[in-house]
Amino acid sequence: MAQPGAGTTGPAVVAEDLRKTFGKDVKALEGVSLEVQPGTVLGLLGPNGAGKTTTVNVLTTLLRPDSGRAVVAGVDVLADPAEARRRIGLAGQYAAVDEMLTGTENLELVGRLNHMATKDARTRATELLDQFELSDAAGRPAKTYSGGMRRRLDLAAALVARPPVLFLDEPTTGLDPRSRIGLWGVIEQLVRDGTTLLLTTQYLEEADRLADRISVIDHGRVIAEGTSSELKATLGAAVVEVRLDSPEEATRVQQLLAEREATVEDDLVRVPAPDGTRTLADVVRTLDGAGITARGLASREPSLDDVFLSLTGQAPDADQQEQPA
C-alpha cells in the first residue's frame, strides 16, 4: 500500500461539498468546496458568520461535518483524524497559548504533546522563539506579552512539529496595524519555506498580500474563487467617490455622470474608474462645469465591501443585519 501523503501529488487540502448544521436550522456550511495546492496559500475571505471558522474546524478534525469529504496532506480527515492531526498545524482565532506558562514552556508542552523527545522539543522551542523574535521574552509568562507577541507565540506553537499544512484562522484580527504588518512578514517567510497555508480573514488587504488564491465565502458557500487580480477584475478596479451636501444634489451629479455608470446612495455618488486618474479628472471637470462644490472626493481601490456588493448585491454588514437571528 502506498504511503499516505508522502509522494502523492495533487492538492494538499481538499474540501468537497462540506455541509454542517448546528442544532435544527443553523446552517453553518451549505456545501463548501475548495482546494489548496502544495506550497501555496489559499485565503478564505468572508464576513463574521460566513462559515470560515467552521470550515477550518472541519479540516483540522475539531468538528465532524454532516456530509462531504475532507482530505489534508493525503489523509482523509474523517476516516483517520488521528493521522491527520500529525500533519497539520492550527492557530485558531484566539491566541490559544497558556498565559501562565512562559514562551519556552508553551512550545515545549506542544512539542511533548506532539510526542517529540524532551531534548528535541527544547531545541525546537529555542529555534522557533528565535525565528519569531521572542527570544528576549522566552522566560516570561505569556500573560506579559503584547497582542502581537501572543499571536507570534501561537503561530510558533502551530509550527512546532513542522507540519506540512498550516491553518491560520483570522491570524491578525484584533491586532494593531504595526503588529499586523509584522505578522504578515512572518507568514510570508513561512510560505517562502514551502508550507502550504490556508488562512481565513475578513480583510481583502490581508488576502491580497498573503494569498495566491482567494475563495470568497458567505452564508456557508464559496461564492467566488480566483487570484486576487481575477477577483478585482470582476469588480471593475477602482472607484471614485464624491460626497455632496444633499441627496438631491447627489442625484443631480449621478445624472450628469450617468454615462460613466455612476450610482448614488444618499449623499454619496460612486463612479467606476477603469481608467484610473482620467476618471477622476473627468469627474472634477463635470462638477466644475455644473458649478457644484463637493464635500469630499476620493479615489479608492476595491474593498471587501465592494466584493460583497458586487457578488451578493449587498454590503456585508447590511446583509448581516437583515439575517433573522
Binding site: 488521528a82 501562565m100 514552556e105 511533548r112 504533546l113 510526542h115 512539529a161
Partner: protein, 283 residues
Amino acid sequence: MSTTTSTSKAGGSGSSLVWALKDTQAMATRNLRRLMRQPEQVVFNLVSPLMFVLLFRYVFGGAIQGLEGINYVNYLIPGIAVQTVLFSAGVTGFALADDMQKGFVDRLRSLPMSRSAVFGGRVYADSINNAVGLLVLLATGFAVGFRPENFLGLLLACVLLLVFALAVSLGYALIGLTVRSAEAVNAATFPIIFPLTFASSAFVPVATMPDWLQGFATHQPVSVVINAARSLILGDSATAAQREVLLGGSDTTSLVLQSLAWTLGIAVIFGLLCTRKYRALGR
C-alpha cells in the same frame, strides 16, 4: 495500514498506552505549574478551611451537643477535611472551563496527543493540590488539639477522601465542559457543596437535627464518607454508643465499603458523561 510518517512526529499505535501516560504527565506538569503561579488561588483554597477550623473549634464548638464523649475537635477535623477536598474538587471544573473558554482545549484537540490525557492530567494535578490542602488542614488540626486515636486509620481516611474527591471532580469536569465558563463553574460550586456539607454529619451530630432532615443527612454520600473517615480515625476506641449515635450504627468495614461504592458510582457515571461530552465537542 501503515502509520509511519515522514515528518518528525513519532509515536506508533502500538505504544499508545505509553504515550497516553506521557501525555498525562505533560499535562499534569503544565497544570501544576499554572497552579503554583496563581498563589492567590492556592492561598484561598488553604485559608477558607482554616477559617472553618478556627470558627467551629473556638466559636461554635462549645455549643455543640450530643457528641457521646468525643472531644469536639476530634469530631470536627474529619468533617472539615471532607469539606476541604470537596471545595478543591471544584478546581477541576473551573480550570477545564477556563481552558475551553480560552481556546486552549481546541489547540489540544488539534494535536496528535491522547484524548484521555486532557482529563488525566487535570485530575492528577488536582489530586496533588488536594493532598497538599489536606496536609495543611491536618497540621492546623494538630495545632488546635486534634489527636487521632489510630494513625494508620488516619492515613487510610486521607486516601479515602482523596479518591472520593477525585470522583466528585469528574462531576465538576462535566459542569466545566457544559457551561464553558470558569465563573459559572465557580458559581455552581457553592450551591452544590453547601447543602451537602452542612446537611451532613460534618459539623454537628445528625441526631441533633430535625427528624425530616436526619434521613437525608445520614445517608447522603458526604456523610457516609465523613463517617467512614471518623470510624477509621477512631479505630477500636469507638464505643458502642458513639457508633450507634454518631456513625449510623455501622462498623468501619461497612462504612468504608459504602464510601467506595458511592465513589465508584459517582466516578463511573460522571466519567462516562464527561467522555461523551468531550467527544460531542466535535459534533
